[in-house]
Symmetry: C2
Subunit: 117 residues, 2 copies
DNA sequence: TAAATAGTTGAACAATCGTTCAACTATATT
DNA sequence: AATATAGTTGAACGATTGTTCAACTATTTA
């Protein structure tokens, strides 16, 4: 497939494109990256993650803190769990969630740096 | 509004919730954060940003590299522009895009660290 | 064992998103 | 001036998303 059939352009800078092509990751890596960042792309989920930086909390705590239903929180926690961003422990009727590792805090802090400039 | 009316829970851990409440940011900050991360939450946009880590490129270059139409690329570049993640310069018919600052690379690298474990 | 509470789940809904398409602007070339 | 190319734009489309609702499981308490 020529460049022309792809983008209808005749002035593609081949050296820059070829260089970039070599440094590109596999398709799966970009999908994994975007799937990860999708978890930070919703205010509710960011609030949950930010709240859990302070201490572990059960679903009720988060629902109370964020003024949302347990169901809504639980759905989001499931997504965060699937991406290994939070872990949990059961104690009686309660399920206590906490951050899986400190990458979460690092990612949030980096975002805060960007928006505060 | 009581905890009960919010989440129908009676076992909210008040001290943990109150402590978290104090450390929470303003609603706007969470919206801004999630809007920022939304830019990294799509494979096409991440590819564009990652490619621009190598060198500046025009719309044709990116379209050729990612095997997409100029229109699709242009729409995504507009979104990245609005969030100040890329900057551009015009030269004749071409518009050359590049990363606005190195936060972008830092954010992508941090994501890669997380998925490689 | 029955009732109450914490949490999860799947379907449904509106809202948002990403790409396509066609039409457009702007610059360069003849 | 006419043509060609680079890039942008808005509407439209299907696909994905976040919350709600109702029904469910599991644990605790009476």
């Amino acid at each position: 497939m020529t460049d022309e059939t792809v983008c209808q352009c005749e002035t593609v800078h081949e050296s820059a494109v070829n260089q970039a092509k070599e440094s590109m990751l596999a398709e799966d890596d970009y999908v994994a990256l975007s799937t990860l960042y999708k978890m930070f792309a919703d205010p509710t989920r960011i609030k949950v993650l930010h709240a859990l930086e302070q201490s572990e909390m059960c679903v009720c705590d988060l629902a109370s803190l964020l003024v949302m239903t347990k169901s809504a929180i639980s759905h989001q926690l499931k997504a965060l769990r699937l991406l290994d961003l939070v872990k949990f422990r059961k104690e009686g009727q309660n399920v206590y969630y906490s951050l899986a590792d400190d990458h979460v805090k690092q990612i949030i802090d980096m975002g805060l740096e960007h928006i505060n400039e």
